[in-house]
């Protein structure tokens, strides 16, 4: 594509959508990624990375990212269109795009040099990152984290542990929230830093979900030496960076999930067509579709706000609650419509639904649990009297 054509797609969202749609539906070049079943997380993520490479080569997943970071310009809406059109064309949203949405914007904003160096290869599917926030003793209460980084000249030395790192077993880098202040400094003494998975002293242990898929990992740091220029933001600014990052983690994740949910909903209807369905199935189907549409309607507002450069505050918890509702509703619907097949069936489609069902349980846990979201709304949106602190 010529650079003028690229520039015009970056400013004309409608034209981007139309051209992308034509590209995705043209011929069979992308069939390799349609209707696929993968036996392991590792296979799936590798295939998805290959899809990113393909999209990158033709430029399509570069819109929405700045030129300095390997992108073609444009904003969050371009990324939103990409996920939507992939889903409408029966294609997966590549797994690594998920953490790219979470980590990319903060790195672009707070560490433009790192973004220039490493984001292009991410967009190319050559490697991807993991998010190292949670720890054994820091789940919902993230500010209690203990993984330490101590400054030594031009380096930091990391020691400690991260837990529940998505894509952790295959990621090349980890963007970690670490303690640079005193153990009692809570959210004031934190910093964000990018660590290579290949650095001496890093070890990774995959963790399988109950489905058998190794979606998560535990990452250990044993005196890992990290150049100080790998900081994302200033030392001590980690909490602010994390809060900035959270806007995309809540908003873009919701939009991505809604796009994928609509594709899976369509596939489910196709799979149960003509089969006997339990009582009340039509009502359940209508309600679930409503849950997905409602998530889209809310999420699109937030995506547009981010694109307009607005700060999305605690009200993003509404998106997160609707996301969890839709995810839970869709996968419980699949489970109930598939019935005995869900429990005993050997087919690949059913196997995928079982794995997805397990994963869908995370919608009320990850990135701030269902309870934490409600508490944020109660505190910061409704302004209710606070819960007494323990």
């Amino acid at each position: 594509m010529t650079s003028t054509a690229t520039a015009s797609l970056a400013t004309d969202l409608g034209a981007y959508r139309t051209s992308l749609r034509a590209y995705l539906n043209n011929g069979d070049a992308l069939d390799r990624w349609r209707g696929k079943h993968h036996g392991s997380t590792e296979d799936r993520i590798a295939e998805h990375a290959a899809l990113m490479a393909h999209l990158y080569q033709d430029g399509w997943n570069r819109y929405g990212w700045p030129a300095e970071a390997g992108g073609h310009g444009g904003d969050e809406r371009h990324r939103g269109v990409l996920y939507d059109e992939l889903s409408a064309a029966g294609l997966p949203v590549p797994d690594p795009q998920l953490m790219l949405e979470t980590l990319g914007p903060a790195v672009v904003r707070f560490a433009p040099d790192l973004a220039a160096r490493y984001l292009p290869e991410y967009l190319r599917g050559a490697n991807w990152w993991g998010q190292g926030f949670s720890e054994p003793e820091a789940g919902s209460d993230l500010a209690g984290l203990r993984c330490r980084a101590r400054r030594e000249g031009e380096h930091y030395v990391l020691s400690g542990q991260k837990l529940w790192t998505s894509h952790g077993a295959t990621a090349s880098r980890f963007v970690c929230l670490v303690r640079t202040g005193t153990p009692e400094s809570r959210h004031r003494g934190l910093s964000m830093i990018m660590v290579d998975a290949a650095a001496p002293g890093v070890s990774v242990r995959p963790i399988a979900l109950a489905s058998g898929y190794r979606e998560l990992a535990e990452v250990f740091f044993d005196d890992v030496v990290v150049p100080a220029d790998r900081l994302v933001g200033e030392e001590g600014q980690g909490w602010a960076v994390a809060m900035y990052l959270l806007q995309w983690e809540r908003a873009m994740y919701a939009w991505q999930s809604a796009a994928v949910a609509l594709r899976r909903f369509r596939e489910l209807l196709g799979q149960v067509a003509g089969k006997p369905l339990p009582d009340g199935a039509a009502t359940r189907i209508g309600e679930c579709y409503g849950d997905i549409v409602a998530l889209r309607a809310r999420s699109v507002r937030t995506v547009r706000r981010l694109a307009a450069g607005e700060t999305v505050g605690p009200e993003a918890s509404v998106d997160k609650v609707l996301l969890a509702t839709a995810e839970t509703s869709l996968h419980d619907l699949a489970r109930d419509l598939l019935g005995t097949d869900f429990v005993l069936g050997a087919g690949a489609d059913t196997g995928d639904w079982r794995a997805d069902w397990w994963f869908s349980r995370s919608a009320t846990i990850l990135g701030g649990s269902a309870e934490v979201q409600r508490t944020i709304l109660a505190d910061h949106v409704l302004g209710l009297p606070k819960e007494p602190r323990a």
């Binding site: 009502t283 509404v318 109660a378």
Partner: protein
Amino acid sequence: MTSTTMDTATAELLTGSLRELFAGSAGRAVGPALAALGWAEVVAEDPAGATTLLFTEHGRALASSPALDAVLLAELDRVLPAGNGTRAVLYPYPDDGDQPSTVDGPVRGLLLAGLESVDEVVVPVRANGAVALLVADPAGCPAEPVAGFDAGSGWLMVSGWQPAGEPVPAAQPWERAVAAGRRALAAEIAGVCQAALDLAVAHTSARVQYGRPIASFQAVRHRLAEGHVAISDIASMLDAAWATAGSANGGAWAAAMTKLRAGRAQAEVMRHGVQVLGAMGLTSESEMHRHVTRAGALDALLGGHRLLSETTGRALLAGAPADPVVEV
């Protein structure tokens, strides 16, 4: 696109005027009061913003008026002979959703206010499977005040009526009118819900048990937060519904989904609202019950959420595309 073009200052000004208006007038007097406010121009300028504002305030005030008639008539009048004075709309009986009675039998339905000052009743009927309209003389219309869940609705039930008149084919205008009506009703339900949530927030923040306001107990806080999510959901669905309102069928699909979500939202908000008020929530001492019953009545009108879920699900099973409804 967000369909409203109204800025915050204008919206605040109009909100104030509407609150005064609903405090002072009800029933068929609301029409002339809105006309005196120049409401038609506000609607012409910004249909989405004006309609949403009007019906949200109508709901918040628990107002009782046939304001919704004007919304449907804006679509129906296009195919009807020029009006002769004030028109009222006969709404399908709630169990029938948006499906009116058949033309060859007695009709039943709902009126939103008495017929004293009404010159013509617009009666939708089904003739050969498609909707047509009769313009009927209100004289002899057997309308009885509704004595149901919501004592304050001011609605009337009509049954066993044989209105005379020549049916005017109106399949598409009716579809458009229903869509417009559903958008207005969703906004009205949002208003009722917001008022109920405000009441619940105020009550639980003031009421002390175990030495602290009950709104500091997590179980209570989370119920209120869920209420807020449900109300926010209606607002964003309304954006989506208005974005397609200009299409040939009036954005029927998105409007139905919006009404469905509003219906579910009111069930949720009212369940929590009643619970957090304790015994007070189920008495006539508190205003909460008026919100519960009004929201229930509005949910039923033009298709309740259960009915809409079922018809949507059936349509999807029969091969209707799972429309994305919203694009970036």
